[in-house]
Symmetry: C2
Subunit: 354 residues, 2 copies
Amino acid sequence: MKFGINLFPTVGPADKPAGEYFDEALRLAELADELGFHHVKTVEHYFHEYGGYSPDPVTFLAAAAARTSRVRLVTGAVLPAFTHPVKLAGKLAMLDNIAKGRLDVGFGRAFLPDEFTAFQVPLDESRARFDEGVEAIRRLWAEEDVRWDGTFHQFGPVTLLPRTWQRPHPRILVATAKTPASAEAAGRNGYGVMLVPSINPREAVQQTLELYRDAAAEVGFKPTEEDVHMSYGAYLAEDGEEAREQGRLANERANRSLASAVSAWRETRSADYPGYEKIVEKAGRGDFGKSVAERKALVGSPEQVRAAIEDIRGWYGDFTISLQVVSGNTTFEEAARTIRLFAEHVLPHYATND
Amino acid sequence: MKFGINLFPTVGPADKPAGEYFDEALRLAELADELGFHHVKTVEHYFHEYGGYSPDPVTFLAAAAARTSRVRLVTGAVLPAFTHPVKLAGKLAMLDNIAKGRLDVGFGRAFLPDEFTAFQVPLDESRARFDEGVEAIRRLWAEEDVRWDGTFHQFGPVTLLPRTWQRPHPRILVATAKTPASAEAAGRNGYGVMLVPSINPREAVQQTLELYRDAAAEVGFKPTEEDVHMSYGAYLAEDGEEAREQGRLANERANRSLASAVSAWRETRSADYPGYEKIVEKAGRGDFGKSVAERKALVGSPEQVRAAIEDIRGWYGDFTISLQVVSGNTTFEEAARTIRLFAEHVLPHYATND
């Protein structure tokens, strides 16, 4: 098992001005680096409290790279649908060099209708744009004199600068929330996956992982624990009861930000997103206690959290966990406490973590 | 007068791998911060040695912001023609917060045909896309619930997150290489300007500045010395003769990279770029000695450079100079020497520089 930190902002200007958020987020990244965590991850979203402080994860991760020396930087995820492949490949290549090869790139399809509307990208083009974007970017990284004649972009021959530090390219991870076929395709392509256990039953995650690992095996690709990422809301305190109380409050605030961000699904349907209208029904109505009991969130004393991780590991095998430590308007002190307690009491039990 | 450092890469993988370039560039940014320079600036270009290591200046400046505490970060420039305004406004707002208000934003029209071709943007739309992009971004920064119904983009109402640290928005500078009307428009809009003295006669720069200052005065806008930026190739050594010899070599290498980047102008004409085909004739054929004598480059001993600056100041008044210290394949040691000598012998004479 590997353990990293997911800095997914779910606050707005009224709760925490952005200058304060980024100052704290950078300090948490430094703490993660110092205490031996595997990675720092952040997201791409727009306009809403739900991730909206991070419209460009590369910008934050470049700052985090400059402040750290060991921890990996992970996009969780960047969205090719909204950025030209030359632009996205180029800035990720810069980051890979600034970080001296510490970059892993998660790509996502995006799922918030308001974002697609603002960028004037039809939701129904989501999958096609994703597939084209990832493949164009992979080729820009791996090859010279690239000619691209796609549905959405045509260019070349061009040779991307700078060349990536990691050759032929940084690890690629594909985010898949609800679509097992995406995980299967990722396995066939030799990519990693980012799954979302918080909104899927355990059995669904297991089936998706099986599809992924089978597809990988068929092409001779052997995914490591670093090829499977999952994020978990995390709140640790010495006293398990306090952790559950405070974690519940943070979770409720984060849920409200999600509910607001997905509200456009009330009036939206897309063949590329079957069943997403149900997200809006569920958002903001999560049963926190059930979530913790089902190991969909890592909340409690260090011992309780370690027991939860052992359950999860039993279900899914070894993989990489990202601890979401800043849900809702969590204070810096609370997030830092979660990170410190985890580093002190949980990390040492996983010797492969470096 | 204010003095900053322009890190404009003009190298490729064969001369200097990108990891080495960025490591050095960050160390130079730290040195500039430590020695009291006003800013660190970088450019946006693609594919060619001429700037191609910097397809996203925001990525580098975010790393530089995280390593520094006093120096300002300046895009010189970002290119709205190639990036969606929501995307560009968003990442610049992140940078402004990460830098705690140390951001100044230079916008440029771009001028390399190969870049327009790759992004499938017609050169003849350059001015219209620039004007629309800058205004859309300014409104996304300054206002909430922005509705944009432009020629190239339509969106809203949306409220950009994060909000910028500097309110209503960071200083805006408009890059203008050859088009006095752009400087005039900048003055009317309350924006600063970035001029290019290396490719214009002194009288042309003076006329452009006069147009700019008159237009600003007409609308009651009083530009400060920080509203006028110009970059100068800079090479300092204790021994003036050595500086000229080494500076000449660096300049020749940088000229070759420019010549290669502009070669597409041989076959390109655009109403938005009158006379640009002449760039290709001139590129790579600069007379270095004449350039230094005409104060179009700051090369020599600290005393010689100081004398040149006094001449320039006499022609243009007080403004902000960016020293280009990494032309061609300059070593870190040479660039650091230029910065140190300038800080020791020139900066102290300009007390307003902080």
